[in-house]
Symmetry: C2
Subunit: 315 residues, 2 copies
C-alpha cells in the first residue's frame, strides 16, 4: 500500500516540514573526516529524496572543526534541485564575514546560542548576553543579503552542566531572535533531556509566543524518547522538524550516547500516521545505507534495518 | 533531583503498571541458552527493582524452545518479594497440564493467540478459531485454580504476512477472552507495525469495549516508534505496559530488527513525565548491564548507555 496513508481522508491529512541536518550536524561529529566527494554524493542523494531544506555546511574555523573545513568545496560541488534551500551554520561575526564571501552558494543562514550559560561558554566561549548582542548585528547583515534568517537555541530542554533551563528563559531568547528578524527558530534538545509531556507544553507555548515564526523541533534520541517527543510536539501544533539521516551526529553526551533522531525513522512514523512530508522514504533509507558504506560501520537508525512497513493501520 | 518529578502536584501525578517480560520473552530469543543460575540471579535482581509482575517462564515443549526448558528449575530457584506475581506463558492444553503440576510456583497464567490467521498457523500450527475454542476450556481450568488469568493477542496492529489486521477483529478476540474470564488482556505489536495515531485510537476503543479488564500495551521498537506508541496509549487512558529489560527479545522480523521496548527507557520516560511506576530505574539499568555481561554483547537500550537524566523539565 501507499506509504502516504491512502485510507486517511484529505481532511485528516496534514503536512509537515522535515529538514535534513545530517551533512552538517552529522558529518561534523564523525571521528574520521569524510572525503569531499563522498559528502557531495550523499547530499545529492538527499536532494533527490524530496527535502526542501538541507543543512550542508558550517562556516566555523577549520582548526576547530576540521571535519567541515571543506564547506565551500561541498557547497560548490553539490547539485540540488532548484526548490531545495541550502542552509549553512554561522558561529560568529568572523564566520559570517567568510560566509558572505560565498553568498551565492546558499539560501538560508542559521545563528545559534545555548539557553544555558555554561553550555554556551563551553561551546563558543562567550556569555549568552554577548552572543545575543552579536546576533542583533549579524541578523541585520543576513537580512540585508536577502537570505532566510534562521536561529537555533541549544539546550532548550535542559543542560548537562546546569540541569534546569526554564521555559521562559528559552522563549525570551526566541523572542529576541524574532525581534532581530529571524523567521525560523529551532529548539534543540542537545543532550536528550526532553520528555513528551514537556514537549507538548513547550511547543504549544512557543507557537503562541512566536507568531509568524516557523517553530522547529530538533530532538535527540539520547534516552530513546526522540520520536515520542516529536509526536507530542506534532500534537501540540508543531509542523517543522529537524533530523539526521542514518541517525548521524548530535551531541554524544553522556559519552557513547546516540544524538539526533533518524530522518528515516521520523518520516516513517509521520507517513504511517497519515502525515505528509513530501519525502521519499525509500530514498532516505537508501542514502542512509550509502552513508553506512562510506563510514564503514553500522548506523543506529531502526528503519535502516527494518525498512518501511508493508502495511499500516488506517488512522 | 528526585526521579519521581517533585514539581508535579499530587493531582498531576499518575501511576501506571509496568510488567517485566524479559526473562521469558527476552531469554527465549537468545541464540545461546542462558545458564539457569544466571537467569535466577537476573530475575531476583528484577524482583528487587519494584516490579509487581514478572513473566518468568513458559510451559512450551523443550524441543520447540530449548532456551526455556529449565522453566521449573527457574521458578523453583527464584526468590522474589511476596508482592511480586510470577507469570507463566501457556501455549496449549498440554502446556497447561504440565503447568498445573507446578501450580504453587506462580500466580498468573497467560494464554495467547495471534489476531492474524497466518501468523497463528505459523506460530502454533492451529487456526485462530481452534485456538479460541481451546481458550474457553483452558480459561476455566486457570480460574478454577484461583490463578490470575491473562491473555495476549499477538499481531494486534498488523501482520508481517497478511498486512492488515482490522481493529474490530482484534477487539472481538479480546471480548472472547474477557467472556472466558480473562481479567488482563495485552495487545502485542509483534513486528512493530503500530504508529502513535493508531495507538491512540486503538487503546481508547479497547478500554471502552473491555470494562473491568486491565488493558495492556505491548509495543515493539522495530521502527523506533515504541515509546511514541506508549506515550500515545498512555494519553488515550492506558495504564498497563509490558517491556523487556535491556531491550531483550521480541520478534526479530524483519531479520536483524530489534523487538521489545526497553523497560529502562519506558520507565525513564514515565518518570520524567511525572508518571509513577513504583520501579527503581537505577536498579533496572543495573540489571540490564548485568544481562549484558552474562550475554557477552552490547544490548540496545538507550538508558543502558546514557543513564537517567540528571534533571528533567517540570511537566
Amino acid at each position: 500500500m501507499n506509504a502516504h496513508q491512502p485510507n486517511a481522508s484529505p481532511d485528516e491529512r496534514r503536512t509537515v516540514h522535515v529538514r535534513e541536518v545530517g551533512p552538517r550536524d552529522g558529518f561534523q561529529n564523525e571521528p574520521e573526516t569524510i572525503a569531499t566527494a563522498d559528502k557531495i554524493r550523499l547530499i545529492n542523494a538527499l536532494g533527490r529524496a524530496g527535502f526542501k531544506r538541507i543543512e550542508v555546511a558550517s562556516f566555523v574555523r577549520p582548526d576547530v572543526i576540521p571535519q567541515l573545513s571543506d564547506g565551500v568545496e561541498v557547497l560548490t560541488g553539490i547539485d540540488l534541485p532548484d526548490d531545495v534551500a541550502r542552509m549553512v551554520l554561522i558561529p560568529n561575526s568572523r564566520g559570517l564575514d567568510n560566509a558572505l564571501h560565498h553568498r551565492e552558494l546558499y539560501e538560508a543562514a542559521t545563528l545559534f546560542v545555548s539557553a544555558s550559560q555554561t553550555h554556551n561558554m563551553r561551546n563558543i566561549n562567550r556569555s549568552v548576553e554577548e552572543t545575543m548582542a552579536d546576533v542583533a548585528v549579524m541578523g541585520k547583515r543576513i537580512l540585508a543579503e536577502d537570505l532566510t534568517y534562521c536561529a537555533v537555541i541549544a539546550t532548550s530542554f535542559g543542560c548537562p552542566f546546569e540541569g534546569e533551563v526554564p521555559m521562559d528563559r528559552v522563549l525570551e531568547l526566541a523572542e529576541q531572535f524574532a525581534a532581530s528578524g529571524a523567521t525560523e527558530i529551532g529548539f534543540g534538545d542537545t543532550t536528550g533531556m526532553c520528555n513528551p509531556a514537556y514537549a507538548s507544553r513547550f511547543f504549544a507555548a512557543a507557537i503562541e509566543r512566536l507568531p509568524g515564526v516557523e517553530v522547529t523541533a530538533h530532538f535527540h534520541n539520547t534516552r530513546g524518547q526522540g520520536l515520542a517527543n516529536a509526536y507530542a510536539a506534532l500534537e501540540a501544533g508543531c509542523s517543522s522538524f529537524e533530523s539526521s539521516f542514518g541517525e548521524l551526529g548530535g551531541c554524544p553526551v553522556p559519552k557513547g550516547s546516540t544524538g539526533n533522531i533518524a530522518t528515516e525513522d521520523l518520516v516513517s512514523m509521520f507517513h504511517e500516521m497519515g502525515v505528509e512530508t513530501g519525502i521519499d522514504l525509500d530514498a532516505v533509507i537508501s542514502a542512509a545505507r550509502e552513508a553506512q558504506d562510506v563510514l564503514g560501520r553500522k548506523l543506529t537508525s531502526h528503519s535502516i534495518v527494518a525498512g518501511p512497513v508493508i502495511w499500516h493501520p488506517a488512522i
